[in-house]
């Protein structure tokens, strides 16, 4: 998909003005944090697990080449095939080639952010193959021809009425007069409509939450069971995922699994955690005959060894989105690409460029809530600041902002002048604002006073008052 991250401010304004979005975000804003809080309150070891989760991912990343090679050997030994893709284009081509070799017409898909990242659906459609999203949220947004607005709840920006409209428009074979008034009915309809597609699909494509090097397994974590129907019914199962998903052992996976669901949805464990190793075995009555893994780099390896390496620990749990007040204000589409919220603010500039996505790491109050809930302790604000440093070094910020900042910084490095000016500003503004105690508009702070008053200064700077007081007490001595 073509990124629109450069128009983040306009996107954000649109989101703020969208009453449906605001209602939907209002549900998420308190619901997710509360459920997560309840879940971790029941697990006293949670903090220690976060520390271990971080260490596991760091260890895997420091030895990524070794574990990827071991993983590949084990996939191959289990009868599967590993395909390496440097770019989105290579990954798309690989998937298409597998589908073509199988003469595939219908491809079912489990929810995969990597598939979104490489815009796989568009590519398949352009080549005459019908991709069918099977995760309920993904299915809804596929019908609406829009990207996901959240990495684990793709349709979180919608209310049930929009879902009903999308279903009525798409499911023309059903009685137009049917009532579609509640989530239950909508869920049942999706189940009914999608079941034959599961059965008819030639290829099933899923992502992976983890790849286990020691066993050559891919792990998916879902609640609906759609990922499982996607991978056990068609003749071919393709896993498409990033190279950073590797963990050494099942023991390591267990630790991260304990963190994942609690951080994501506040569940103790998701309904389905599925570990897949190779294709169907001799004697098996079901399961795919072919098992392919497409390992995508797409800029990930370049993040190793640098100031953004920590981002590769990301489990895609969405806790940072769920706790971000900026995300909660504007919604995921404002971010203009696949990955929204704090994790997107760090990842998107790395994947589509800082020129396109420079707004994202700036649109943060650095409140730090994302880092405080990240299951693998990714220092998200720090990395957003690193992007801002690059932006400043590469002179990408608006000139007015830059010169204002430099002027202020020069002043801050001259204390005598600074105190003289602060004293004067305090007197002038204090005098001007003394009657009301606040300003309803200030020409040089219009952005502030457009929506809120500016409290008036008390009339003297602290430094001037303190100096006076010190002088008085010295005279008295």
């Amino acid at each position: 998909m073509q990124p629109t991250s450069h128009s983040f401010p306009a996107n954000a304004r649109a989101g703020l003005a969208d009453p449906i979005l605001q209602t939907a975000l209002g549900l998420a804003r308190t619901g997710f944090p509360q459920r997560r809080q309840e879940a971790i309150a029941r697990l006293p070891e949670f903090e220690e697990l976060r520390e271990q989760g971080r260490a596991i991912k760091d260890h895997a990343l420091a030895n990524l080449d070794f574990y990827l090679e071991l993983y590949e050997r084990n996939v191959t030994a289990a009868g599967g095939q590993v395909h390496w893709a440097r770019t989105a284009e290579e990954a798309r081509a690989t998937v298409l080639a597998i589908c073509r070799a199988a003469n595939a017409k219908i491809v079912t898909k489990g929810k995969s952010m990597v598939a979104e990242e490489i815009a796989l659906n568009d590519h398949l459609e352009a080549n005459g193959i019908t991709p069918v999203e099977t995760d309920l949220g993904e299915y809804i947004i596929q019908l609406r021809h829009e990207p996901p607005s959240h990495i684990i709840a793709p349709a979180i920006h919608l209310m049930k009425e929009q879902v009903a409209d999308a279903f009525r428009e798409a499911h023309t074979e059903l009685d137009p007069a049917r009532p579609l008034i509640d989530p239950r009915a909508l869920c049942d309809e999706a189940r009914t409509v999608l079941r034959p597609r599961f059965l008819a699909a030639d290829v099933g494509i899923t992502g992976a939450n983890f790849l286990v090097a020691e066993t050559g397994s891919s792990i998916i974590v879902t609640n609906e069971g759609n990922g499982d129907l996607t991978q056990i019914l068609p003749r071919i199962h393709i896993v498409i995922t990033g190279i950073e998903k590797i963990v050494p052992t099942l023991e390591d996976a267990a630790t991260l699994l304990r963190l994942l669901a609690r951080s994501a949805t506040g569940q103790e464990f998701s309904s389905y955690t599925t570990i897949s190793t190779g294709p169907r075995r001799p004697g098996d009555l079901d399961g795919p005959e072919e098992y392919h893994v497409v390992l995508l780099d797409n800029g990930r390896s370049a993040l190793l060894g640098g100031e953004f390496q920590d981002m590769l620990r990301c489990l895609r749990c969405a806790a940072c989105l769920n706790h971000c007040p900026v995300y909660a204000a504007v919604g995921g589409h404002a971010y203009g690409w696949v990955y929204p919220g704090p994790m997107g603010a760090v990842l998107t500039p790395a994947l589509v460029g800082l020129g396109e996505a420079g707004h994202l790491p700036n649109a943060s109050s650095f409140c730090g809530r994302c880092e405080s809930v990240c299951p693998v302790k990714i220092p998200l604000p720090k990395m957003m600041r690193h992007w801002r440093e690059r932006e400043f070094a590469w002179r990408l910020n608006p000139p007015v902002y830059r010169s204002g900042l430099r002027l202020w910084a020069a002043l801050a490095q001259r204390p005598a002048l600074y105190h003289a000016l602060a004293g004067t500003a305090s007197r002038v503004l204090g005098w001007a604002g003394q009657l009301r105690g606040r300003f309803r508009s200030l020409p040089f702070a219009a952005g502030w006073t457009a929506v809120r008053d500016m409290p008036a200064p008390q009339g003297r700077s602290f430094q001037s008052l303190w100096t006076e007081q010190q002088r008085r007490s010295e005279r008295r001595r």
């Binding site: 954000a12 703020l16 308190t30 007040p325 204000a329 504007v330 649109a363 943060s364 109050s365 650095f366 409140c367 730090g368 809530r369 880092e371 720090k382 600041r385 801002r388 440093e389 690059r390 400043f392 070094a393 910020n397 902002y401 900042l405 430099r406 202020w408 910084a409 002043l411 801050a412 490095q413 204390p415 600074y418 500003a425 305090s426 003394q434 009657l435 009301r436 105690g437 606040r438 952005g447 502030w448 457009a450 929506v451 809120r452 008053d453 500016m454 409290p455 200064p457 008390q458 003297r460 700077s461 602290f462 430094q463 008052l465 303190w466 100096t467 006076e468 007081q469 007490s473 008295r476």
Partner: protein, 296 residues
Amino acid sequence: MPEPARAALLVTCLVDLFRPSVGFAAVKLLEQAGCTVDVPRAQTCCGQPAYNSGDRADAKAIARQIIAAFAGYDYVVAPSGSCAGMVKVHYPELFADEPAALAQAQELAARTHELVSFLVDVRGMDRVAAHWPHTAAYHDGCSGLRELGVKEQPRRLLASVEGLTLAELPGAEVCCGFGGTFCIKYPEISDKMVTDKAAEIAATGADAVLAGDLGCLLNIAGKLSRRGSSTEVRHIAEVLADMTAEVPPIGAPANPSPAPRERVASPQGEPGEGARSSRQFAPSPRPSPPVGERGF
């Protein structure tokens, strides 16, 4: 009572410019906690605006200035979790690539504290002698909360304020939308965040709101007054130092005369615009008695 100590006040640029009474309240509290207080003149700002804007060179220059200005004191105390967090957490990050400066930054960081957590955790203060008859919501400033662990300390001291009831504020840990330059760069988003905050404050039924960071307080007070709310907004230091009678709340006009102690509620509706007395509120230089001796 802990050993006497020399503390330097990191005033913070917002307190310096907008609300010196917070600085004087901090001085009073530090003296009550057995510190002699100095205010280095060579300080301006902690450098956070430059740091958070990616201007590392200027942030470093300002940080060096602060490191020099605050050398030699036992403690450096700021009436702000954000500025204290900048010195304590981010100065060492800033100089990670300069070993000599890093050592100085770490040394300063070890001595630097946010005011209320300093009083409780370092100086062992567990109550204050103050009177403030209000029902107040407390907003946790982000940096103080998440970078410095300031959460329980302000509540503990506020519990000892005579007449004060704390109202539980849902979302107390959610950002108010100030965020330094954030509120200028993305005003609509900031507005949405502070609108939510103001609504949550209103829903508590509290007649006052407190916090430990003037940035949050200017933002919240500005939004509340724009909404026509009469909720009183104050920095926690003014309440703990029992200086509320001497200065009007943030964004309110000066009191015609010092409010009597018996005042039980904030002014209703739009505050009056009557004549105001001098804005001279710096407390007289009488030494404040240590808190332990005042008692109840």
